[in-house]
């Protein structure tokens, strides 16, 4: 028997008050009427606990857009799961925070778009920055783990040191510095988000220095820019090896992006048990093990470490879900990545103008630069 899944990613809604240009949600968002009910989620958490899962990561969209979030956290915790809320913080009053903590919330992760308010609001397409600051102070008054998350890219990497210093004064336990991953909206906006080689190189040093300086106080977790790596990431720890993601409509996926893959039929918790989906479903078995692998993966000694990289990226960039992830320097399709890097480095790094600080003005000026994430019906 295979080992059980370790964590459930509960993508409880696609509704979101922010419109971040790097959002990893699919371009095709689930509308509110198709979302799972409170009772259906309760049943999912109970099954997850029985399957031996340890963590439930609440994400979206913005999880706080669900009025029943407190009940969902309570149900997950009641099923023995460690509860993690990944949020923008918009929609979280101090009173609601207290209710969530009382319901059993273990960890909260707040995303920041930048240290500078105007840039942060510009990237999020929403005036959320000031509220996040206030909320961070409130969080520290509760006995829960606190992580701040910062997505970095071409538009903000040049002041990474300033951003780290800014996050540091919020006294989190952890800081996640994540290079943009190019799926969903981020892939559509890649031209405006992809950093130059020089920016990436500098960022590596800045993060290493911060890690050293903050050791024992704040733990830094980094998500590396895989376009610039030699080998691909072990996406989700391997297809169907550790995680199950449930989207707002109950569809069960091995990762955030899998719905883009053609010819796949992903099961729904409304029709099948989590256990059956994990053990038996063709979708979870599709890229497990090594049978599906092409060369050079099949004979590569790293195949049990990175599992050939990301299937979605292989499809999105090379047009073939069974190809070696183009991010791998050994991949036949690697020239696609090399050309994206060349393109990124040939343009000036910062596309925005420096002088204006009006949010409305920034949005207007940059309408051509990128597409803001929309909202579902």
């Amino acid at each position: 028997m295979r080992s059980n899944p370790l964590a459930l990613i509960a993508e409880i809604t696609h509704r979101c008050p922010l419109h971040c240009v790097y959002c990893s949600n699919p371009m095709q968002l689930a509308d509110v009427h198709s979302e799972l009910s409170t009772g259906e989620w309760d049943h999912v958490f109970a099954q997850a606990g029985k399957l031996g899962m340890l963590h439930a990561h609440f994400t979206g969209g913005e999880p706080l857009a669900r009025a029943d979030l407190t009940e969902l956290i309570s149900a997950a915790r009641g099923s023995g799961l460690y509860t993690n809320l990944i949020t923008s913080g918009v929609g979280l009053s101090e009173q609601r925070l207290r209710a969530l903590v009382d319901a059993g919330l273990d960890h909260i992760q707040i995303s920041f778009q930048d240290s500078r308010e105007d840039t942060a609001n510009w990237i999020a397409g929403s005036k959320a920055h000031a509220h996040k600051l206030e909320l961070s102070r409130a969080i520290r008054r509760h006995n829960i783990a606190f992580t701040v998350n910062l997505v970095v890219h071409r538009q903000n990497l040049d002041h990474l040191e300033e951003m780290i210093a800014f996050l540091e004064q919020l006294s989190p336990d952890r800081m996640e510095i994540a290079h943009t991953q190019y799926y969903g909206w981020a892939l559509a906006n890649r031209g405006a988000l992809m950093p130059t080689a020089a920016q990436v190189e500098k960022a590596v040093n800045v993060v290493a220095e911060a890690e050293k300086r903050l050791a024992g106080r704040i733990r830094i977790d980094s998500v590396v820019p895989d376009y610039y790596a030699k080998f691909p990431k072990a996406c989700m720890g391997g297809w169907g090896r550790r995680l199950m993601l449930i989207n707002p409509t109950g569809k069960v996926l091995p990762c955030h992006a899998a719905e883009v893959l053609p010819g796949m039929n992903f099961e729904n918790v409304r029709e099948r048990s989590l256990e059956w989906i994990w053990e038996e479903s063709p979708s979870f078995q599709r890229f497990r093990g090594e049978e599906w692998m092409p060369e050079p993966c099949r004979s590569c000694e790293r195949r049990s470490e990175d599992f050939g990289g990301c299937r979605c990226q292989a499809f999105l960039l090379a047009g073939d879900a069974t190809a070696t992830d183009p991010a791998c320097s050994l991949a036949p399709a690697h020239p696609i990545i090399e050309s994206a890097i060349r393109e990124a480095s040939s343009q000036s790094a910062i596309s925005r103008h420096e002088s204006t600080n009006s949010f409305i003005q920034l949005q207007k000026t940059n309408q051509d630069l990128w597409t803001y994430r929309t909202n579902p019906k």
């Binding site: 370790l6 340890l54 963590h55 023995g80 460690y82 993690n84 273990d106 960890h107 992760q109 006995n143 829960i144 783990a145 606190f146 992580t147 336990d173 952890r174 050791a215 024992g216 106080r217 704040i218 733990r219 977790d221």
Partner: protein, 91 residues
Amino acid sequence: MAPPSDTSQPRLAPGCRWGGTEQDRVILFPEGAIKLQGTGRQVLERCDGTRTFADIIQQLQKEFGKTDPAKIRSDIGTFLEQLQKKRIVDY
């Protein structure tokens, strides 16, 4: 950061807690879990924010009478320091 001093009172960091079953005890933290057996489990079960590092060492030295007390102290100190860096333990 340094290993705990005699008067430090080690405890689980915010948002870190025990989970799993009686046979398979784990410490759950935001992005993962560690399975604890043997000495590691004995140490962490005593990290309740009340006992001092000196208390914990003294108790464990009794349990492991044959081992060099200085080695017990340094091993446990290093163990707690590592967990502190991971933000799983505070002291």
